[in-house]
């Protein structure tokens, strides 16, 4: 039972009606193979690695990254990037913590203690708002996604630190007398023995999968990421799509933020620092193209598991933190190199000219002799 819990979770969230196709998974999914290799190696190196308890603990760590990565995937499918998610993790946790501490109404000697669900919803709303700002900056103001979200990265982190004055809100367990207990349920506790975060991750992955594969919005997203001009001329509201995906990414970040705050039962304004990079790495390891239009939830989940299981494994066998960074970086680069090989071989196969593949035709579709590539792209 314990063997399948972790490895199966990503596979199960494939296209709902697709069923399991193990050979295809092995062939396509280098991330999947990498995950198996990681599990096998660390199981040999440490007797504690391959235990139910450790797998669940690691999955709880993975869940946070995976939730962020699913939001990031939506943005990357559109050809954008969201660097602000790490800061949003911090801010949303702080918002939840701030409300849990009780809000003194000005002018009155009353302190309001909102119910836990109110705190959580407010935190998510703040995350969605940050995403909306990103979306408006990118879609309406025409700021490059990298720059727009780099800006919000700083603004949001600053806001989180300002709210707490740089301190951490401790002990968010609530008080039965005030009726605001239960915050720890969102991350600290387990439901049926499974960490809440993992459950949330599964729900978000299923929702995301449904969104991408079955709804018109999913198709809009793939189309506008693949070729925004063509999508626009096909009547797709490309700006609306853009705004919504940043809202989705911000919301995912806030969910992750609330889960982390609950896990620690405290809200640290510096939580989630550099998580955006881990999320991007997961998406990229999962086979998505940073140029947009290519990628799926299954791959992204695998990517998150690869990173999470690798870093936890390194911690368990006692590798120094510095070496952990080296390994993580190497895995990211190797995974992306493998993806490039796959994309290229697919293209050659599709071009139907195995003898002389045109080099350097990466972006341009073949067949348009009227629009030759510039000379300096003749070599890839």
């Amino acid at each position: 039972m314990s063997q399948t819990t972790s490895a199966d979770a990503p596979a199960r969230t494939r296209r709902p009606s697709g069923g399991l196709d193990i050979p295809k998974l092995l062939l396509e999914g280098r991330a999947f193979i990498a995950l198996i290799v990681i599990i096998v190696i660390f199981s040999f190196l440490s007797p504690n690695y391959f235990t139910v308890n450790n797998l669940l603990t690691m999955s709880a760590h993975v869940a946070v990254y995976a939730i962020l990565a699913i939001g990031m995937l939506l943005v990357i499918l559109n050809g954008g990037i969201d660097l602000s998610v790490g800061s949003t993790v911090g801010l949303s946790g702080v918002i939840a913590g701030f409300l849990m501490q009780g809000v003194k109404l000005p002018g009155m000697e009353v302190t309001l203690y909102p119910a836990v669900w109110v705190c959580a919803v407010c935190a998510l709303a703040v995350g969605a708002f940050v995403g909306w700002v990103n979306g408006m900056l990118v879609a309406k103001a025409g700021v490059a996604p990298f720059v727009a979200t780099l800006g919000t990265l700083y603004v949001v982190r600053g806001a989180a630190l300002l709210i707490t004055g740089g301190l951490t809100y401790p002990n968010l367990r609530g008080d039965p007398a005030l009726g605001n207990t239960g915050f720890d349920l969102l991350g600290f506790n387990r439901i049926l023995g499974i960490p809440t975060g993992v459950m949330v991750m599964i729900v978000i992955a299923l929702l995301g999968s449904f969104l991408l594969n079955r709804t018109a919005f999913g198709r809009w997203l793939y189309a506008s990421g693949g070729n925004q001009r063509a999508a626009e001329l096909s009547g797709i509201p490309v700006k609306k799509v853009q705004i919504r995906i940043y809202v989705a990414s911000g919301t995912c970040a806030a969910i992750a933020g609330v889960i982390i705050a609950s896990e620690l039962t405290s809200a640290n304004p510096t939580a989630g620092n550099s998580f955006e990079l881990t999320a991007i790495a997961a998406v990229v390891i999962g086979g998505a193209a940073l140029s947009g239009g290519r990628g799926n939830i299954r791959g992204t989940l695998l990517g998150a598991f690869v990173i999470g299981f690798l870093s936890d494994g390194l911690v368990i066998i006692g590798v120094s933190e510095y070496w952990q960074m080296v390994f993580k970086g190497a895995v990211i680069v190797i995974a992306v190199m493998l993806n490039r090989i796959e994309v290229r071989s697919k293209r050659i196969k599709n071009a139907g000219a195995p003898s002389a593949p045109p080099p350097g035709q990466a972006g341009a579709g073949p067949g348009s002799s009227g629009t030759p590539p510039a000379v300096n792209t003749a070599k890839p």
């Binding site: 018109a216 198709r219 189309a223 001009r229 000219a353 003898s355 579709g365 002799s369």
Partner: protein, 506 residues
Amino acid sequence: MNEVVLRAQNVTKRYGGTQALKGVDFEVLKGRVTSLFGENGAGKSTLMKILSGIEQPTSGSLELRGEPVEFADTVEARDRGISIIHQELSLSPNLSVRDNIFMGREITGKAGMVDYAAERRIAKELMERLEEPIDPDTKVSDLRLGQQQIVEIARALSVDARILIMDEPTSALSASEVEVLFKVIRDLTAAGVSIVYISHHLEEAIEISDHAVVLRDGLIVAQAEIADVDLDWIVGNMVGRGFDLGSPPSPEHFGEVALRIDQAMVADPANPERLSVNGVSIDVRAGEVVCIYGLMGAGRTELLEALAGRVPLVGGSFTVLGQDISGLNISERIALGLGLVPEDRQRDGLVQTMSVGRNLSLASLGTFLKGLVLSRQEEKDLIQKMIKDVRVKTAGPNAAIGSLSGGNQQKVVIGKMLATNPKVILLDEPSRGIDIGAKSEVFGLLSELAEQGLAVLYSTSEVGECLSIANRVIVLSKGRISAEFDAATTTKEQIMAASGESAVAA
């Protein structure tokens, strides 16, 4: 002196599903200008790219002065004395004229330092030779297009090439600049340099050439000494005699006016103070095919893009089936029955990351939406129907869009719009970059659609395409309608004369 310096033997080139060259034997003669004629997509540029090492042939061989050669890239070709002036400018706008001329071949002196003084001196000499005394330190982005083209020519000259390939070298040059270029060409040939010349300006090409070679549909169909031939011979061989692009729909089936363009004005996107469409009025009735003929910059694309809703009107109005569409966005216009097949298929028509089927269904997702969910069965049915209706040759709906030939990709873009059940279909240069067989299929399809009651408005810059399936031909010149013809009674000459295109008049 008919010494062959470069010979291509049985060269073929395949891009994806498109056979751009189907076995070409081509000779470059010493000290002579060989002109290559052919329509868009005939394979001229592909052949030149193979001769200059940009592309490698799928099969066949090259022989330089009797020795077999293979060029891995342009640097190898350049080292063997073959240089090319590109159809599209390949300059770095952020660098100076001097840096562009010596890009990749910097003159280095002691310790690997670039000898800027020497570069500047040579660049200056080259520019003087081309009678365009631009300071070599000027940034290329500060030059107008024609001057940029001259820099491009200077760069090719700086190599001291023995074979110089010129692909549309004069497209942005003024008449006097062309004269200077021709003088330089004559100097070069007198010095034994061989020139391969490609130009859409046929008369200009005839003036400078010694030898004419005509390509059509990836094959050389005719070649002769220029002294023995005339323009009619070239045009006849380019187009192919007796090739039928279809016939216009019969006027008795015309219905109500489906599309009314009234005094439309569209601003030039590059320069908002200028109007690229200035007071154009056209009515298209259901069942009618109307052709807009015009040269580059006549305002064809701008008008059609404004109709589709991509760029705003600054004056006038558009009416579809009696409804003013000025306030509608692109998807609302599609819903009303107006669809555009854009000029640049790769840039505006297709999503390369999606399959053939998904490209086909892209504009009509709403028709098989059940609540939140796209109905897979209905989508599949629609895709199958469209593949059949527009006769896309594909391995299946899941094939990659890049695996299709240009003509079949074009059919996918047309099918995508037809799937939305349009009443009016707009096509911007529907034959661009597709071979002649696919062209006749596309035009045949348009004619059939008109017979079924669709209003068809298409634009073209090839006069032969005006007189095939259109009922009426409207000539645009500099943003205005300069003439309107009944296609049944007009001639190519009349149309070309009205467009202000005298150089190509046959």
